[in-house]
């Protein structure tokens, strides 16, 4: 699903990854660990085509990551950043926003599906009527994860999904994300419990060497 060979990246003259290799099979749950500043988020941005590859090769769904394939690659991915500020009114607008894109219109969930997803994430349905500035960072994050899951993509990329969540919420999200057999998940996290649930862990502390 994701194949990375000899990836090297320099940032401000400093080496971030040195000939880093990674192979992620379909359905695998992979977590990137490491201290802050080791380039975990940068790595996700690189996979999403937001940062250019300096050296090495990246293949996603058997397609080399380049300008010709980027639209196809992104069309198979759902992504939730660590912090998200959208200039929207309600939590509902935020939740349904990705389904407004042409590519996702046919995936807009009905009320039942929305209710089930929110319930599984420990969120009440009336939360959708609340103003975005009235809900917490953790609720926002869970809403974005729920929405990303409902997009039904093959790969889910989560940047620090546990950052604003308490222990119970982390377990709820993990249950939803890790139990989907066909879904390939690439996440970054500092949370020990989340890391332990993963099939593979890559530590970026020492320029991307496997633990």
């Amino acid at each position: 699903m994701i194949e990375i060979k000899d990836l090297s990246l320099w940032f401000d003259g400093q080496s971030l990854y040195d000939r880093f290799c990674m192979q992620v099979k379909k359905g695998e749950k992979v977590t990137l660990a490491g201290e802050s500043g080791t380039g975990k988020t940068t790595f996700l941005h690189l996979i999403l085509g937001f940062i250019p590859i300096q050296e090495g090769t990246v293949k996603i769904m058997d397609q080399p990551l380049n300008a010709d394939n980027i639209e196809y690659i992104r069309s198979n991915i759902a992504y939730v950043p660590q912090e998200l500020h959208l200039p929207l009114g309600t939590a509902g607008e935020m939740f349904y926003m990705p389904f407004g894109f042409r590519q996702n219109r046919d995936k807009k969930p009905d009320r039942k599906k929305t209710h089930q997803t929110l319930e599984a994430l420990g969120l009440p349905e009336h939360l959708l009527d609340k103003n975005l500035d009235e809900i917490s960072g953790g609720q926002k994050q869970r809403l974005a994860i729920g929405s990303a899951l409902l997009l039904g993509k093959s790969i889910l990329i989560l940047d620090e999904p546990t950052a604003s969540l308490d222990g119970k919420s982390i377990q709820r999200v993990a249950l939803m994300v890790f139990n989907r057999k066909d879904l390939t998940v690439l996440s970054t996290s500092h949370n020990k419990w989340w890391i332990e649930q993963s099939d593979k862990i890559f530590n970026l502390d020492h320029h991307g060497t496997n633990p």
Binding site: F50, I77, P81, F101
Partner: protein
Amino acid sequence: MEQTLDIGYLNLLLGYLLIALPIIIFYHFRTGLVKDSLIAVLRMTLQLLVVGVYLELLFEYNNAWINSLWWLIMVVIAAFTIIRRAYLSLRYFIVPLILSLITSLAIIDAYFLGVIIRLDYFFDARYFIPISGILLGNCLKTNILGLNTFYQKLHQEKIRYRYYLANGASYGEARRPFMREAIRTAFNPLIASITVIGLISLPGMMTGQILGGSSPEVAIKYQIMLMLTILVATLLSVVLTITLANFFVFDGFGNMKNNVLKKNQG
């Protein structure tokens, strides 16, 4: 037609005494604007004196080629000013801006002068130059606001833009919210001024026409047409500039290139 009363040069100098007041206030509050405002007044004076001489010649010859050349010079100066004031890279924006200003101005000039006023001589300097100048002046303001908002927001709110792209938005869909915000920022002041025109402000052209001896009725008709054409020309130029510039400003992955915005913003 009644002639407008001339202002004697001595009286004009008396007028300059007025700027003593802003200078004192700027100085009192240590705004750092004393030098800038003095330079601005000096530049305005010199520019208008030069333009005055040039316009006298333009009106005397009233030649289509010379008038068009002046029109083109105004467009190029406006394009450079917009780029500088919106803190954008000359390299990516100069061609799209010149093309979009020429296109929007040509269309609206043709409609205003050719269809509405029905001039016998389209390039008549008395109409062609001042009307194009007013349209261009407004394009300048809205383009600075619109372009600055669009590209600054894309830069500052990268996470939001990337979130759209990485969740299935096409390039157009991902940039649409930023375009909406740019248009709102650029056109709110113009729409507000159209709303209150005549109530709390008498526009310059209308005042000029009345001072020049036109009847208020004629001046009002011109002003109505002018406000409508300003709205259309400015909107057309902002949307066209951003649309054209986006071909150069983004890489093949939809990311805004690093050197699009000038770094040394004050």
